[in-house]
C-alpha cells in the first residue's frame, strides 16, 4: 500500500506567554499541488486551530500570505511543497513586529506607501495578438480609447522583508520607492512635485545599496530594485541642469 509522501514542517510560533518564540513541528502529506499555505491550513484545521496565518485569495493576487520559507521570502499560496526539500522551515516576514505566529504588523509597509499616493489603476496594454487591422468601424460600437488595469504591486511586503537595509525605519523602502517612480512615470492627476521631494532624500532613493533582493523576491513582477535605479536616473537628470545653473529645483517633473 502506498503511503503518501510527507514532509516535516518547522513553524516558528510566537506565544505572548513564552519568553522566546519556538519551532513547532508537524508532519504534512504532500500532493502534486500542495502548497505551503495548503499545508498550514491543514495543520490549523486538523492539529491546532490557534495557528495564526494570513491568507485571502489563494492565488498570489492579494499579497497577504507573505512569509519566509527556508529563509527566503515567498507567497505561501503559490509555493509548492514539491519544489522544496525536507524539512521545510516556515517563519514570518522579517523586520516587522510579529503580531502572532506567522502574522506580522503590516503598518510599516502602508505607512511608507500612503504618502506616495499612487493610484491603484494605471493604463493597460492591449492583450492578445496584434489585431490592428480589425479595429471597430466608427459609430458601430463601443471603442475603448484607454484600457485600464490595476498596478502590479500587491503590497505583500516581501521586498521590505528581504531588503538588507530596511531595518532603518526612516528608509522609504523598495515598495514605496517603486510606487513613487510609477507616479512620476504616469501621474494620473497626482502631484508629482510632492513625491519628488519625498524620494530625493538620504532616506529615500539614495539609501538603496543595490542588493536587489527586493527584485529577486517580488512575486508580482514589479522589479523594485530596477525601478529605484530608474528613479535615481530621473533625480539625477533633474539635478544636472541645476548644477550648471539652468533651472530651479523640482520645478518640473523630469522625464
Amino acid at each position: 500500500m502506498n503511503t503518501p509522501r510527507t514532509v516535516l514542517f518547522k513553524v516558528l510560533r510566537t506565544d505572548p506567554a513564552a519568553p522566546v518564540p519556538r519551532y513547532d513541528e508537524f508532519r504534512v502529506p504532500v500532493g502534486s499541488r500542495t502548497t505551503v499555505l495548503d499545508a498550514l491550513l491543514a495543520v490549523r484545521r486538523l492539529k491546532d486551530p490557534g495557528l495564526a496565518v494570513r491568507h485571502s485569495c489563494l492565488h498570489g493576487s492579494c499579497g497577504t500570505c507573505g512569509m519566509r520559507v527556508n529563509g527566503r521570502e515567498v507567497l505561501a499560496c503559490v509555493t509548492r511543497l514539491q519544489e522544496l526539500g525536507d524539512p521545510v522551515v516556515v517563519e514570518p516576514l522579517a523586520g516587522a513586529r510579529v503580531v502572532g505566529d506567522l502574522v506580522v504588523d503590516m503598518e510599516p509597509l502602508y505607512r511608507r506607501l500612503e504618502p506616495v499616493g499612487r493610484p491603484l489603476l494605471r493604463a493597460s496594454e492591449r492583450a492578445g495578438p496584434d489585431r490592428a487591422e480589425a479595429a471597430a468601424a466608427p459609430g458601430t460600437g463601443p471603442v475603448l480609447e484607454e484600457l485600464e488595469r490595476f498596478e502590479d504591486c500587491i503590497e505583500c511586503g516581501l521586498c521590505l522583508s528581504a531588503c538588507p537595509v530596511a531595518g532603518d525605519p526612516r528608509f522609504l523602502g523598495p515598495a514605496a520607492l517603486a510606487a513613487a517612480e510609477r507616479v512620476l512615470e504616469e501621474p494620473r492627476g497626482t502631484e508629482g512635485r510632492a513625491v519628488l521631494g519625498l524620494v530625493d532624500d538620504a532616506h529615500g532613493a539614495w539609501r538603496c545599496h543595490l542588493a536587489f533582493e527586493c527584485s529577486a523576491v517580488c512575486p508580482a513582477g514589479v522589479d523594485p530594485g530596477g525601478t529605484i535605479m530608474r528613479l535615481r536616473r530621473r533625480l539625477l537628470a533633474d539635478r544636472l541642469p541645476r548644477l550648471v545653473g539652468k533651472s530651479h529645483p523640482h520645478q518640473e517633473v523630469p522625464s
Binding site: D15, P16, A17, R33, R45, P49, G50, L51, A52, V53, R54, H55, S56, C57, L58, H59, G60, S61, C62, T64, C77, V78, V99, G100, D101, V103, M106, E107, L109, Y110, R111, L113, E114, P119, L120, L121, S124, E125, R126, A127, G128, P129, D130, R131, A134, A136, A137, T140, G141, P142, V143, L144, L147, E148, R149, F150, E151, D152, A220, G221
Partner: protein, 392 residues
Amino acid sequence: MDAPHVIVVGGGGTGGALAHDLVLRGLAVTLLERGELTSGTTGRHHGLLHSGARYAVNDPESAVECIAENRILRRIAPGSFEENGGLFVALTDEDMDYRHNFLAGCAACDIPTRELTPVEAVGLEPGLNPALKAAVWVPDATMDAMRLPLRFFATARQGGARLRPFTEVTSLLHAGRRVTGVAVRDHLTGREAELGADLVVNATGPWCERLAAMAGVAVPVQPSPGVLLALVGRLCNLVVNRLHGAADGDIVLPQRALSIVGTSAWTVEDPDDLDVPDEHVQAMYREGAKLVPAVASAAERAAWSAARPLIGASGGEGGGRELSRTFKCFDHAVTDGVEGFVTITGGKATTLRAMAEATADLVCAKLGLEAPCRTRDTVLAPHTAYYTRRAA
C-alpha cells in the same frame, strides 16, 4: 444613553459592509473573524463586478440586484475597478439561439447591452477566439476581491467599529432563548473572553450553519464550491463570458498580470475541507480556451476552490447550480423563536452593500431604532487606511 452594541460574526465582504452601515447609523459594532479579513469565500472569488447579465435569463432577481449595486459601487469606491467592460461571446448555434432570451432578459432587468459583430468584438478585445459568431457588450468590470471590501472595513474602523481578526467565536451566550453575546478565543494571544451584545449577526457565509447550530437554529444554506484557475499573463483586458446558460468554465477575466478562468460547482458539507478536483481544472482549461485561445498554453499560477453560500435546502441535486444567487436575512426570533440572533447569507461579492443594507434595516427594526441607510452615497476610505488609520 449608550448606543446599542451589535456583534457581527464573519469578516468577509458582507461583515465589512455591515459594520460600515451600522456605524453610520450610530451603533457600536464589534466584528469578529477567526482568520484574516476576507480569508473565507470573499477573498477567493474571481474579481468580477457583475453586470448581472449572467443571471438575466434564469435568475432575474439576482440580475436586478447586481446591476443596481454595480452602479452604486462605482460611485462609492472610485478607483477600485478596472472599468473595461465585458463581453458575452456566442461560439455555437445554440449560443446564438440563447442570445434572444439573453438580450430580452437584460433589457427587462435594466442591464445595458450592445450587440457587436465578430470584427468589432475582436477589435475591442484582441484576445478573443476569432471564430466567434457574435458578441454582446455588458457593463462588467473587475475588482480586487480583497481590497474592495477592505475599503468598507477601513471606513468602519475610522467610524469607531472594533475589528478583531484572528478572534474565533467558540460558543454563543444565552439567557433562556435569547442570544446575549459570544464567547471567543483570541488566536494571537490564546486568551478567552466573553462579549455581550444587544444583537449578534451571523455573517459567516458558507460557515453560517456552524454558527447557527450554536444558537440551536438551522439555516438552509448549501456550501457549493467551485474551482478557479489563475494563469500567468494578462490574456484579455475585458471580462469574457460565454453566451449560454451558466455552466463550467464560462468566464475568463484579467487580474493584474494574471488571467482567471472559472468556475465549476459541486456541493460539500464542510467548507474548510475543499478539494481541487483535477477534472475540474482540466475543464477550466478546455472551456476557457474556447473563449480566449491563449488559455490553452498559459502557465498555471494557482488552482483553488471557493465555497459559495447558496440558499436552498441542504443536499440539493445538480451541484447547486439551480439554486438562486440572491441573498436572504433570517430573523431567528421569527423563524425559530430565538431572540437576539440574525443570519445574513447567500448573495454575491457584487451585492455586499445591498446585503448589509437589508441586514442593517432588520437590525435597527429589531432594536427599535429609526436610522436610515447612508451607504449608497458615502464614499469609502482607501483600503490603505485600514492599516494606517485607527478610530477617528
